[in-house]
């Protein structure tokens, strides 16, 4: 596969999933997943609803830990070469490295400033100028600075839906994670807000590695460099986006792309 050839010429992938099985209690949700996510690329996960995209995404920052009896039963997940299930892995640090943006925007009922500063504060940052700087940088990255710089103390819940989602992105990148996970970040937004976030995605790829779940194939084409297609918990095909969409290798992928899916 193409992923193998890149592995030799470039540093190891930022996220690597190896032969992973994942179970919710007795029911297996993911089967034998292999995935490599490259630095500063946007990787999209597509597939029909319920195929395990969110589950796979949540494996990368161990958000699944909170579901009782959910666990990886085989294989491993490496972030920057380190197995994230090792005993010496600090979950707090892992999540600082791997940020996440949710399907439905969820800013805290605090001021805009406090929302963005939250991640730094919980990691012990108290210096006001450091916080100020991080807030400005993150909001700028999220293309919100110009709009909001005059009302940083306003309540975040007063913002529009699209602004709220971009604020969540700003909050997630304030701690400068290596990887940013996004679970259908636009599914609850109107087309214009969606467009803005898609534009943002390209910008973000300059500094972060992005993994995005989407059920919108056009979106995957527009924003991603690589695309993984999942079906019933199995990773059917993983390839550069253009290749996967123009020339899918698997029958299943083709059927799904055509929309002739049973």
């Amino acid at each position: 596969m193409s992923a193998d050839s890149t592995a030799q010429s470039t540093p190891p992938p930022v996220v690597q999933v190896r032969d992973m099985d994942f179970c919710y209690g007795a029911s297996k949700a993911l089967f034998d997943i292999n995935l490599k996510v490259e630095y500063h690329r946007v990787t999209a996960l597509i597939g029909p609803s319920g195929c395990g995209k969110s589950t796979l995404l949540r494996c990368i920052n161990r958000m699944n830990d909170r579901v009782p009896s959910a666990r990886v039963t085989k294989g491993e997940v490496l972030v920057k070469g380190k197995n994230i299930h090792d005993a010496d892995v600090d979950l707090t640090q892992l999540r600082k490295q791997v940020g996440m943006v949710f399907q439905k925007s969820n800013p805290f009922p605090k001021s805009i400033y406090e929302n963005v500063a939250y991640g730094l504060r919980i990691h012990g940052e108290k210096n006001k100028s450091v916080l100020d700087e991080a807030v400005e940088r993150s909001l700028t990255h999220a293309a919100l600075w110009e709009e909001l710089k005059d009302r940083l103390q306003a309540n975040a819940l007063a913002l529009s839906g699209g602004q709220q989602q971009r604020l969540c992105i700003a909050r997630a990148i304030a701690t400068v994670p290596d990887v940013l996970l996004m679970d259908e970040p636009c599914s609850a937004l109107d087309p214009i807000s969606t467009l803005k976030i898609e534009e943002l995605m390209h910008q973000l790829a300059h500094e972060f590695t992005v993994v995005i779940v989407t059920h919108n194939m056009q979106q995957a084409v527009r924003v991603s460099d690589y695309t993984a297609f999942l079906h019933l918990g199995k990773l059917i095909e993983f390839a550069p986006t253009e290749e996967l969409f123009t020339n899918p290798r698997e029958k299943l992928t083709e059927a799904y792309l055509r929309g002739t899916f049973s």
Binding site: M100, I122, A158, S160, A172
Partner: protein, 662 residues
């Protein structure tokens, strides 16, 4: 009417149309028959509307009842103001107010006197205590021997009194008494401050006690004499202090005499005036009845009765002269009194027997000039006092809301001042909330965020069960258990730094506050827990995904997001606490006085009365319609208003902090 007509039109029409749209059934389905029959009108009204009215009216009942309660309370209570106005007017006209101008500040004399008395006895004790202890111990021992031999003594006494005397019997009893006395005297424990020789002598003397000898045994006499000598010595040593105390106590006598005479006169006038008022209202009633009576015979008899009951009004103007006429004399006495006590203060020695006594003496020395100043100031206002100055309704309102005395069934004058009750209620509520808030909020946070499912299943029902405990049972517990517990704890030596320890009263505001806190916990816990539960899951997700620890998420996200609910839970708990009656009635100590806030935080260990308690305690005993009855209703109105206010605040808080949904 319009809608009814419209309905009837439609209700006929859709019949055929519905048949068309449905697959044609062989007979009309039951459902449609039922539905169509519902579309008939009842008494010309649309049944849908009837249903709406039915539910609406049930909701209105609650509101109507609330309004009725308010109207009832107001009707009974609002008359209080004119009634109290009349009473205060009589208080002034009859001259009671005049007497109180001097009599009230004079009360301070007693407090100062008692401080001095304490200082004197503490000082004397420094010298006389050992002698007194020896004397008292010896008497106690004697008493113990007598108690143990009481039977034998009685037999002997009876035998001795018998006529003719039976010498052999007397001998037998005497021997028996001798034997038991010897045994009893031997069994006694002689305190260490008796020397061995003294103990021996005491034992001998006790063994020889018989009912015939009435003189004290010699050693006891010596002990008594020893004490008197020591006491005399002490009194000479602290002569200055003793004398100052005596002078101070006597200083008030001439003044008190004049005041008492004036008070007697004023009271007499007042009683006459009140009696006249009663007769007069009766007469008015008779006349009214006569006016409406149609039967001429009855009418004549009513009128006659009314005429007969005409009584002479008290000439207030004349009687007040007998009081105000002595203003100059009164002022003179006050001045004399002030001079005497100031002199006493000047000769009050700097030294006293003990540190505590010195402190008391110093307090008195500082208190006396202030007291004298107050007395002089009061005397100066006597001239300006006018018996016929009207009592305005505002001053009556002030006398109720800012009055510092709640005195009822007094032979002198009833006062209905609200402040003692309000302050009791507020202090108790504050204690309860200060205790209950941390407990219930912390419990709610723990249960909601940290407890396992099994713990939750245990904690929630247990806390909610507290609500089921009848408050009178809690009152029992407060009286029998908590009171003693607090008292015992307050006597522990190493806790004496706590202000107010050791406490005087087992039933006090702190005790009541603790129990009310216990009662408020279920409300506050459940509502706080709900508030935390309502914090959106998405906030927690976001915080977790940013790497927050559980504690960080709880204290930086969940609690702030639930704070409006928690605050309104606290306020609703406050509402519960303010309105609670049984516990405070049983446990708060029911002393109707403003707590002495000069005691600092220790004030919470004082007894107090409350708004709710006073109503529960007194309403059953007062005569309906009296000023006291009306005053209690006024208290009820204020209580009601406070509850409304607290509830309104709870709602306002919930709204104010509610994160506005985007």
């Amino acid at each position: 009417m319009f809608s009814t007509a419209g309905f009837c039109l439609i209700s006929g029409a859709p019949d055929s149309r519905r048949m068309n749209s449905l697959p044609p059934p062989s007979r009309p389905p039951l459902r449609s028959v039922l539905l169509m029959s519902r579309k008939r009108t009842i008494l010309g009204l649309d049944p849908q509307k009837l249903i709406k009215y039915f539910f609406g009216s049930n909701a209105s009942v609650a509101i109507i009842v609330l309004v009725l309660i308010m109207v009832f309370l107001l009707r009974e209570g609002i008359d209080f103001l004119p009634t109290y106005q009349r009473e205060l007017q009589t208080y002034r006209r009859a001259g009671l107010e005049f007497c109180d101008i001097i009599d009230q500040p004079l009360q301070r004399n007693q407090a100062l006197s008692s401080s001095l008395r304490q200082a004197v006895s503490a000082s004397l004790e420094t010298l006389s205590k050992p002698a007194r202890d020896r004397r008292d111990a010896a008497f106690l021992l004697k008493r113990q021997v007598e108690d143990k031999t009481v039977q034998q003594r009685e037999s002997l006494t009876q035998a001795l009194e018998k006529t003719p005397p039976a010498p052999e019997q007397i001998e037998v009893f005497r021997r028996e008494l001798g034997e038991t006395s010897v045994a009893a005297a031997k069994a006694l424990v002689y305190p260490a401050f008796f020397s061995a020789a003294e103990s021996e002598q005491l034992q001998r003397e006790f063994a020889a006690l018989t009912p015939e000898v009435t003189d004290l045994p010699p050693l006891l006499q010596t002990l008594v004499a020893e004490f008197s000598a020591k006491d005399r010595e002490a009194r000479t040593k602290f002569a200055a202090l003793v004398q100052a105390q005596e002078e101070f106590e006597e200083a008030t006598e001439p003044l008190q005499e004049v005041v008492d005479e004036l008070k007697a006169k004023a009271l007499e006038t007042k009683e006459k005036a009140v009696e006249f008022e009663v007769l007069e209202t009766n007469r008015q009633r008779l006349l009214e009845a006569a006016a409406t009576e149609t039967d001429p015979k009855e009418k004549a008899s009513l009128t006659k009765e009314a005429e007969e009951s005409v009584s002479e009004a008290v000439n207030l103007k004349e009687s007040i002269k007998e009081i105000t006429g002595r203003t100059a004399e009164l002022r003179e006495q006050v001045e004399k009194y002030a001079v005497v006590i100031e002199k006493a203060a000047a000769v009050l020695p700097k030294e006293a027997g003990t540190g505590a006594a010195r402190k008391l003496v110093n307090e008195v020395r500082e208190g006396i000039p202030e007291h004298a100043r107050e007395m002089r100031a009061a005397a100066a206002t006597l001239e300006g006092w006018r018996w016929d100055k009207p009592v305005s309704i505002f001053s009556v309102i002030g006398a109720f809301f800012f009055g510092t005395q709640w005195i009822t069934n007094s032979s002198w004058q009833d006062f209905f001042g609200f402040v003692p009750l309000l302050s009791g209620s507020l202090v108790i509520a504050a204690i309860a909330i200060l205790i209950a808030t941390p407990v219930s909020v912390v419990a709610a946070i723990y249960t909601n965020q940290f407890a396992s499912e099994r713990e939750k299943e245990l904690i929630k029902p247990v806390i909610e069960f507290i609500q089921a405990i009848p408050s009178v049972v809690l009152g029992f517990i407060g009286i029998s258990l908590v009171g003693n517990l607090i008292k015992d704890v307050s006597e522990w030596g190493w806790l004496q730094w706590v202000p107010g320890f050791p406490i005087q009263e087992r039933l006090n505001m702190f005790n009541a506050g603790c129990l009310l806190a216990f009662m408020a916990v279920p409300t506050m816990f459940s509502l706080s827990e709900d508030a935390l539960n309502n914090v959106p899951r998405a906030y927690i997700d976001a915080s977790d995904a940013l790497g927050a620890t559980k504690l960080q998420t709880v204290f930086r996200v969940i609690v702030p997001a639930g704070i409006s609910g928690i605050l309104s839970a606290i306020l609703l708990g406050l509402g519960r606490v303010v309105g609670e009656t049984m516990v405070v009635l049983l446990v708060a100590g029911n002393r109707i006085a403003i707590p002495d806030f000069s005691a600092g935080p220790g004030v919470i260990f004082q007894p107090a009365h409350t708004l709710t308690g006073i109503i529960a305690q007194e309403l059953g005993e007062v005569s309906r319609g009296s000023s006291h009855w009306q005053a209690l209703f006024m208290v009820g109105i204020v209580l009601f208003a406070i509850s409304l206010l607290v509830n309104w605040c709870a709602r306002a808080v919930a709204r104010r902090f509610e994160p506005h949904k985007a």
